[in-house]
């Protein structure tokens, strides 16, 4: 009697979940993908151009959509997975619509949430009209309309790095890793849209630890004249002319700085997703001090959970860029296949 075809459940249809689904489907496994949102694509679909090469995010979405387009994949959007239970080597997943579905393995790919910038009250997001987030700016890029709330074109724009990252006050000690390069990319993008704009990036450290990041940083200064000021913004307010007044400590010049800006962009960090946290609590999955899923081993088992047969893929384990997310998803697939072939190892 032929062996029953193995089935895998993937929770989350962002970059990691979609890539893992495609890889497993092509290896002839049956895959069911659950996505809580009505659409697939996670955060990538909200972005305009991607670093380091300004690729249109639509190209990545197109690639990911192709991964899902396979006869072995069932996609269920608008469905939240509430918990995972292991029962004699089979996993039973309960969904928000009251359903239950079983599988032979589970990949958790619940991704991340962007830090809610209103939690940094001193920056006035949600209060001052022209304080926006990196995500809001991407939406403006997509519409090709970078405007202030009063429809004027901003001439002087600031970027605040590390919003919700490396910040004990909001219990996020970790670096979100991608905000620095995103700020560099967005600052250049702003200059492409508004040639005469003056752009200032307020940073703690420029963490350019990725392929071509440093080159991008250099180009932003030499070709686009972006100004980098090393210091943390302490407060934002608004003057009588509806300009933002930003106070920052310029730590290289060794003095406080006060600046009027037309627009301020907050580089929101990455946090463990709320849905991931709920799933962890309901399923007995371990989370780390940073609240992301904690892998079984940081060096040799970054895709494995402490429950055999439950695997992690992508930014639900730590902030990752798209390249790393896709590699991590492929590694999760390799671990799943190894688990099926060598269940006792």
């Amino acid at each position: 009697m032929p062996e029953k075809r193995k089935e895998v459940i993937i929770i989350g249809a962002g970059a990691a979940g979609m890539e893992a689904a495609g890889q497993l489907a092509r290896a002839d496994y049956k895959v069911t993908v659950f996505e809580k949102e009505p659409k697939t694509g996670g955060h990538v679909k909200d972005w305009y151009h991607l670093f380091p090469d300004s690729r249109d995010s639509g190209e990545v979405i197109e690639y990911l959509d192709k991964q899902l387009d396979h006869k072995n994949i069932i996609l269920r959007t608008g469905t939240v997975v509430e918990n995972i239970k292991k029962n004699d080597g089979t996993f039973v997943v309960r969904t928000s619509d009251g359903g239950e579905i079983s599988s032979d393995a589970v990949i958790v790919a619940t991704g991340f949430d962007l830090f809610r910038s209103e939690r940094k009250e001193e920056y006035g997001y949600g209060i001052y009209d022209n304080v926006i987030t990196s995500s809001d700016l991407e939406a403006m890029f997509r519409k090709n309309e970078i405007k202030r709330h009063d429809d004027r074109i901003p001439e002087k724009i600031g970027f605040v790095h590390c919003v919700g990252s490396r910040d004990e006050k909001v219990s996020n000690l970790y670096c979100s890793k991608l905000c620095c390069v995103t700020a560099v990319k967005q600052a250049m993008e702003v200059k492409k849209h508004i040639e005469n704009a003056r752009v200032f990036c307020f940073y703690m450290d420029m963490r350019m630890g990725g392929a071509l990041y440093e080159e991008l940083y250099k180009e932003s200064q030499e070709r686009f004249g972006i100004n980098y000021i090393r210091g943390k913004v302490s407060e934002v307010s608004e003057n009588i002319n509806n300009k933002l007044v930003v106070k920052v400590e310029d730590t290289l010049a060794g003095r406080p700085l006060k600046m009027e800006l037309d627009m301020l962009v907050l580089m929101a960090g990455m946090e463990m997703s709320e849905s991931g946290l709920k799933l962890a609590g309901a399923s007995g999955l371990k989370t780390g001090e940073n609240r992301f899923f904690s892998p079984a081993d940081h060096h040799f088992g970054s895709n494995k959970s402490k429950i055999k047969g439950v695997f992690y893929a992508g930014a639900c384990t730590a902030p990752l860029n798209i390249t790393e997310t896709i590699s991590h998803a492929r590694a999760a697939v390799a671990d799943v296949i190894d688990y099926f072939r060598n269940p006792k190892s």
Partner: protein
Amino acid sequence: MLQEGKKRIWSDYQKEIADDHFFYVRSCIRQSFFPGSEQFFLHFMKNVLGKDVYENPSHTTCTGIGYHGDVVPLATIMTVVARHFALMKESGYKNIAISCVTSFGIYTEIIETWKHLPAELDKTREYLCKATGREFDVPENMAHTSDIIYKYRNEIADKAKYKLINLQTGEPLNVVEQIGCHYSKMFPKYGVGGAEFPNVLGGMITSWGGKVVDYPERRHCCGFGFRQYLVQANRGYSLSNTVKKFASMKPFKPDFVLTNCPGCNMFMDKWQYTMKTMEGTVYGDNGESIPVLTYEELAGLVLGYNPWDLGLQYHMVQSEPLLKKMGIEYDPGDKYKTKDGRQMPIPQNLINA
């Protein structure tokens, strides 16, 4: 500016404020510089709202100014505060109402220290017992008196005789709210509305018909800042901080400043005299300086009390321009008369007089 964003923050910082049976602790300097404020608070609570508010004659300074001036050690101030709590316990009260923002900051800092370092609490119990034979309990509820007026702001609005409306224009008065740094900047959870966008005074202003001015240096120190002022050589720094605030608020044409801290009221009031004398600068509209009121004085004005009974004449910047805008009736001849009608000396060189 989106008011909804502020409301969302305020909803995160709702503090529990007791509604009766208060052990009231006065401020050292408020009694001297604007004595009508504490008097009005006690009258309003006891006679208007019918609340039980008790003062113990053995209550002393909290020594906060000495502590911040580095002449009173932490162990000493903790013992002094513990003695206040002992007086409260002996008097049968559990809710403390604190008139001074410096004291309020001291109480919150000490209580938080005891929570995080229980050994300090044990040491304080021992020191107090050795020194006085007394025992104490930590208050069940701790409120600044501005929290209490905030709590009853709508009752005051219901009884209001005057509103914070400019009678000539029909527009709401522009009000600068000046929250004492030690009210919530150290521990946002102890302040109504938190630290970045506090609502303790803003809530009163809007309930009574006015409009809060949000200006760039809103969060900046008034200029008191203890060491800036207590060390005589630093007083220029104190003044420069106050100038920075007034220069920042000037374009918004504030009709008056409302404070909840004795230091803020004193410095924003009295430094205006200095600024005018040194530089000839005034920061209000129509060549006038900006009156600086306490929340009790403002509550009293809104309720229709005689401005001179509230002690407005004891400020350096006089309030007549504001009284006229609000349409408040007053007798200029009574301004410097005692309650039994005797004429007091009339101060010279007052501003806006």
